[in-house]
Symmetry: C2
């Protein structure tokens, strides 16, 4: 095919590199996925990134540019990606320069949490007003702050770390070294570990039946299945996540005076079982002037958020 | 006297109206204070404000403008002050228009927390880089966010509510209706009430001697006096405030990627007894990239912060 007016997006993950052509309206024209193969060294990973982009360009035509969402610390001005987790030996690589040299297209590189927020602004739920807090619920809790159509980056590009807003200063240790960060309660692995503990106390839940007694199969997805099937225990687990998340989001909304919050990432798939208690919790906790304006909505980009966020970088102007 | 290049600042409080002439370097050329007399009605209060400004102008000459810091909700664009607490009957008054009509000087009106932050930027600790979080510790905990020399206002001018960042989502009820807000622990009256409870348990402290056994005399000032005199109990009380405040500030610093925090207001008078545990707490809680940059400093404006913040409005451009 020979499309026009589209961007190539590359979503660099520890396991797979997803790449695709996304047009200006957010429609995916073509997509592919190749293994990252981080075990073969960082130079190989760079070759895989270039290869993925070339596959898309060969299938789709000349793009307006190529955007990459990369994990870890990214200097969006220079295009340097610093020591992304899960890619050993990487160090400090100027991915923008490499991609521009290899592909001859304009390249933009961003931290993946920022790319998700930019994706919401260009294609998703943040399109309307350009002022929102983006929250991505997954292994970790990531975020981004959009204000008047611009990403608020802070001093070094690190702003938006909603995952490390504390909800309990005497609470459990977080991987970051602090205590009681919201990520320490609602990150994927913490949800699974906490739910296992609760099951061992309660013993008799529909969730346990669904797992056929095998706790090693427990995942957020199974908890959601059980909740849908009417399991009160699983609904309570998800409601508790909503309650805690509401506290962290209320702190952020109060501090920023931003009333629209967009929730994406795997855990947002809990749907109404999450969103109802989350909205209740946040609403009761924000300051009175914010309360009538508060809007907590689900990302519209779904599973393709990483890919669309990366492609959106091509169309985002600061 | 007939000065030039100065601003008139008016600090509107529930009890007193402080007014003064402040030059461009932050030097107070003249100051006065007259009673607010809120009990005599809001129209009388407005007359008192005008009177205070006229006293200053008569003594100092023609100012570059007159800035007013007012409590409560202020629309800085229009100059409207909405229902300030402690001034019954006020409703919605366009103070900017009234002052410009009565005085024939350019008038600027701001919320007092914003004025404090602007004062730090123009005259104080925020002068150097223009990127900092301002925190005012008093009856309540107020705040302001400065980024690249501009106040970050949020959607409606309400940004910077650091007092309503939670440190414990299951914690005590705050006046705002939420739970565990930092203000619910380190606001003046909460400090006094909590310390009274602790004294009743401990019984034997140098602080109690200093109060001559009369708990009704307890105030943050007396706690500070006892701490200076070596009282471990009082030092622990202040250290605990620092520990909690550090948690709220770390949440804000992580979210904003802003590493300079300026602390003002009466409670900041606790000095090193507050700042040492506060810095320790915040440092251990912020994300690793922020840690080496983190700077928590005391406001340089001291007791005159309200007045200087109001005068600074004349020189602040957005």
């Amino acid at each position: 095919m020979n499309h026009k007016n589209f961007g190539i997006g590359i979503d660099l993950g520890g396991t797979n590199i997803k790449a695709g052509a996304v047009d200006k309206s957010g429609k995916i024209l073509f997509k592919t996925s190749i293994p990252t193969e981080a075990g073969l060294g960082y130079k190989h990973v760079i070759e895989q990134i270039v290869k993925a982009a070339k596959i898309v360009a060969d299938k789709s035509g000349k793009p307006d540019g190529v955007g990459t969402g990369a994990p870890g610390v990214v200097d969006f001005k220079t295009g340097e990606v610093k020591s992304p987790p899960n890619i050993p030996g990487w160090g400090n690589v100027n991915l923008k320069k490499i991609l521009e040299k290899e592909l001859r297209f304009r390249a933009v590189v961003e931290n993946d949490a920022n790319a998700a927020a930019i994706g919401e602004y260009i294609y998703g739920a943040g399109k309307q007003n350009g002022t929102f807090i983006m929250v991505t619920l997954g292994t970790g809790v990531g975020g981004g702050i959009f204000f008047n159509g611009k990403l608020f980056r802070g001093e070094t590009g690190g702003a938006g770390e909603i995952g490390h807003v504390t909800i309990n200063y005497n609470g459990r240790r977080c991987n970051c070294g602090s205590y009681g960060c919201i990520e320490a309660y609602v990150g994927n692995s913490r949800i699974v570990a906490d739910t296992k503990k609760k099951i061992k106390v309660v013993k008799n839940t529909a969730l346990l039946d669904l797992l056929e007694g095998d706790l090693s199969k427990l995942s957020p997805k199974v908890i959601f299945e059980a909740a849908k099937a009417g399991d009160e225990f699983s609904r309570d687990v998800i409601a508790q996540i909503g309650e805690m998340l509401g506290a962290a989001l209320a702190s952020a909304a109060n501090l920023l005076d931003i009333s629209t919050i967009v929730i994406g990432g795997g855990v947002s798939g809990f749907g109404k079982f999450l969103f109802e208690p989350l909205r209740r919790s946040a609403k009761k906790r924000v300051l009175a002037p914010l309360r009538p304006r508060l809007k907590i909505i689900r990302s519209k980009l779904g599973n393709a958020a990483g890919l669309k966020g990366a492609a959106a970088l091509v169309y985002y102007k600061e």
